[in-house]
């Protein structure tokens, strides 16, 4: 075994990380079905290996920029799950004090510098963070996650060009789950691989990686991060993956062919990793224990979040401006 730090425990830990996210997403979906959560949410179940594999290749001085499908990145970064749930539930203890909601999870202390619900916006912003790390000489790397749909938006192309021409310590990770919202990405591009095939236009190294294989993702991101830290500039990665749920909570994803779902669900990252652990001699009962332990953690986090206070009216007017307040406008 070459991935991670080369130990079975490493892989078992990553399995736990992914299981934690899966449990969080399954509960989130249930909360919506029960009407406990307002607004919307975009579950990342099925895509856990991308977030967890990538995060394992990052250090404390690195930055992550995410999309509206961000729960897995934020949890993988180590943000407390009770505060993640609290944010979804719009409670004052939420990561953004209840102001951001599901699509905007941000945790500066964990290096998650925002989740951006306008497709592609985070890519230029990540370039700015990478520029800062580069000029300050911190050795930090900015990682921007985005979906396949983002590869058709201008900001993606502006950012890739900027990163390449300025040789920024950035890694662009496309989570290609085959669908841009409700539309198959294959119908809206004229190339096979939405991200990978665009990289040559920017003179940027790129790779395709199995996004359901946490070891493969880790290895690819670690290589890209190493290049960035060595001053060799940015890399574009396209992780092939698949979401368990639809685009958002209301979407049953009826537009996906049954055979396609069956094929991908059989390759679910948790299934893949469990099988791998089995091959490595980890007893099934130990993995079951992990499932139970992690499940309890998530359940307790939800309970804590449910007890948290709701925002007050004054909160809506706070933090709009650093100076002077926002009340005078209304």
């Amino acid at each position: 075994m070459t991935a991670g730090n080369g130990t079975v425990q490493w892989l078992h830990d990553r399995y736990a990380d992914m299981r934690r996210i899966r449990r969080f997403e399954d509960i989130t979906y249930t909360l919506f079905r029960r009407g406990t959560l307002d607004g919307t949410a975009h579950m990342a179940a099925g895509q856990e290996a991308v977030a967890v594999g990538a995060r394992a290749a990052l250090g404390a001085d690195d930055y992550v920029f995410s999309t509206y499908r961000c729960h897995h990145h934020v949890i993988a970064a180590g943000a407390p799950m009770d505060r993640c749930f609290a944010e979804l539930l719009q409670r004052r203890t939420g990561l953004c004090g209840g102001k951001g909601g599901s699509m905007h999870l941000t945790s500066v202390e964990h290096g998650v510098m925002g989740s951006y619900a306008i497709v592609g916006s985070q890519l230029p912003i990540a370039c700015g963070a990478a520029w800062s790390a580069h000029i300050r000489g911190t050795g930090g790397v900015a990682v921007a996650f985005f979906g396949d749909g983002a590869t058709n938006i201008g900001a993606f192309h502006e950012a890739l060009n900027l990163a390449a021409v300025w040789r920024l310590p950035a890694v662009f990770v496309c989570e290609n789950n085959l669908y841009a919202e409700f539309t198959a990405i294959a119908t809206s591009i004229n190339v096979e691989h939405p991200a990978y095939d665009r990289a040559p236009a920017y003179g940027m190294p790129a790779a395709i990686v199995d996004g359901n294989d946490v070891e493969a993702v880790h290895e690819a991101v670690a290589t890209a991060v190493g290049r960035a830290r060595d001053g060799d500039g940015p890399t574009l990665l396209e992780a092939k993956t698949y979401r368990r749920y639809g685009h958002s909570r209301i979407d049953p994803a009826d537009y996906r062919p049954d055979e396609e779902e069956e094929t991908w669900f059989a390759r679910d990252p948790l299934t893949v990793t469990r099988r791998r652990l089995d091959e490595l001699g980890v007893e099934a009962s130990r993995v079951d224990e992990t499932d139970e332990r992690v499940g309890r953690e998530v359940d307790e986090a939800l309970e804590t979040a449910m007890q948290a206070p709701e925002p007050e009216v004054g909160d809506a007017f706070a933090d709009v401006y650093a100076e002077g307040g926002a009340g005078w406008r209304s």
Partner: protein, 323 residues
């Protein structure tokens, strides 16, 4: 000594970069050329290509990178080469620059200045002559600064760069070459304070940016009619100093809002509404608005017809007095 607004802005950037090495200045043709209006002239030569540099033609990328830099301790000052070129960056400005602080519950502060040479009067056409302020004044989270004279251009730009909040800094490009006798550096009233540029008793002209000079000229010309016009220069649109405006209107009893932007749903509508709400019993006439017509910016040969000038301002004053 006589200083143009362009020189004042250039000196402000220079002094800000000297005072604080977190200040970086960049944009299209900003580095080597020194900007198409030469506002960043010689800054790259003086501070090096890390602190003043050229970018690809990518406005969303320019503002987006500024956000990322500001998250990590820099104070970027970016130039939108022309007003209309700001629109490709609109999404970054309104969705993220303005809102990250709120969204992150104050943990992310973005001290970014977006400089926009704006307005017409230089014989350019649409996309090069626009007044985009109301797009930004309606977005909470941004400060909107609009100097009209060189001294303010210097002082307000310095304050904008020091501001913890993001600032959209509107430079009236037709006034880049207007001069004022000053010794730089200069301190003027802070962001958020309007100034009475000329005291008067007959009516109040509320204005900002390029129209400050037009209003002062109108006030001079009005003396021939026996009218003594007060000119209030807002200087900043957000925060808006309603008190200074209302105090003035309380003295004169008449208010006209003059700006280069179109009248329809322009910033003057907000000022007029506030005056109506707070100075109703002082008003001898409805608050009138003088601005451009609500059409796409016309060809250069029709510019003089489109933009408010001294005559248009005085016609409106007469209308107010005859009410």
């Amino acid at each position: 000594m006589a200083v143009t607004m362009a020189q004042a802005l250039n000196t402000a950037l220079h002094d800000a970069m000297e005072a604080d090495d977190r200040v970086v200045v960049y944009g299209e043709d900003v580095g080597m050329l020194g900007g198409v209006f030469r506002i960043t002239d010689k800054l790259q030569e003086r501070f090096g290509a890390t602190r003043c540099f050229d970018t690809p033609l990518a406005e969303s990328g320019i503002v987006g990178t500024a956000i990322g830099m500001a998250m990590y301790g820099y104070r970027p000052v970016v130039e939108m080469q022309f007003d209309g070129f700001t629109y490709p960056a609109f999404e970054q400005i309104t969705s993220h620059l303005a809102k990250m602080r709120n969204r992150s519950r104050g943990t992310v502060t973005l001290p970014v200045v977006v400089r926009i040479p704006c307005g017409g009067g230089i014989g350019a056409v649409e996309h090069h002559s626009e007044s985009p302020e109301s797009y930004f004044t309606s977005t909470a989270g941004l400060r909107i600064v609009a100097p009209g004279v060189p001294g303010d251009a210097y002082a307000l730009l310095r304050r904008a760069i020091e501001s913890a909040d993001p600032v959209v800094f509107l430079e009236p490009k037709r006034r880049y070459w207007a001069k004022e006798d000053l010794d730089l550096p200069i301190e003027t009233a802070p962001i958020g304070r309007a100034l009475v540029r000329r005291p008067g008793r007959t009516a109040t002209l509320v204005t900002y940016g390029s129209m400050v000079r037009t209003c002062l000229e109108a006030a001079e010309a009005a003396q021939q009619e026996g009218w003594d016009l007060e000119v209030v220069d807002l200087r900043t649109l957000v925060p808006l100093d309603t008190d200074t405006v209302v105090d003035s209107v309380a003295r004169t009893g008449r208010a006209l809002v003059v700006h280069e932007a179109q009248v329809f749903a322009g910033f003057g509508a907000e000022v007029a509404a506030r005056v109506g709400e707070r100075a109703f019993y002082h008003l001898e006439a409805p608050v009138l608005r003088v601005g451009a017509y609500d059409i796409p910016y016309p060809p250069a040969k029709l510019e003089h017809y489109h933009l408010p000038d001294v005559d248009r301002v005085l016609d409106a004053v007469e209308q107010s007095l005859e009410y």
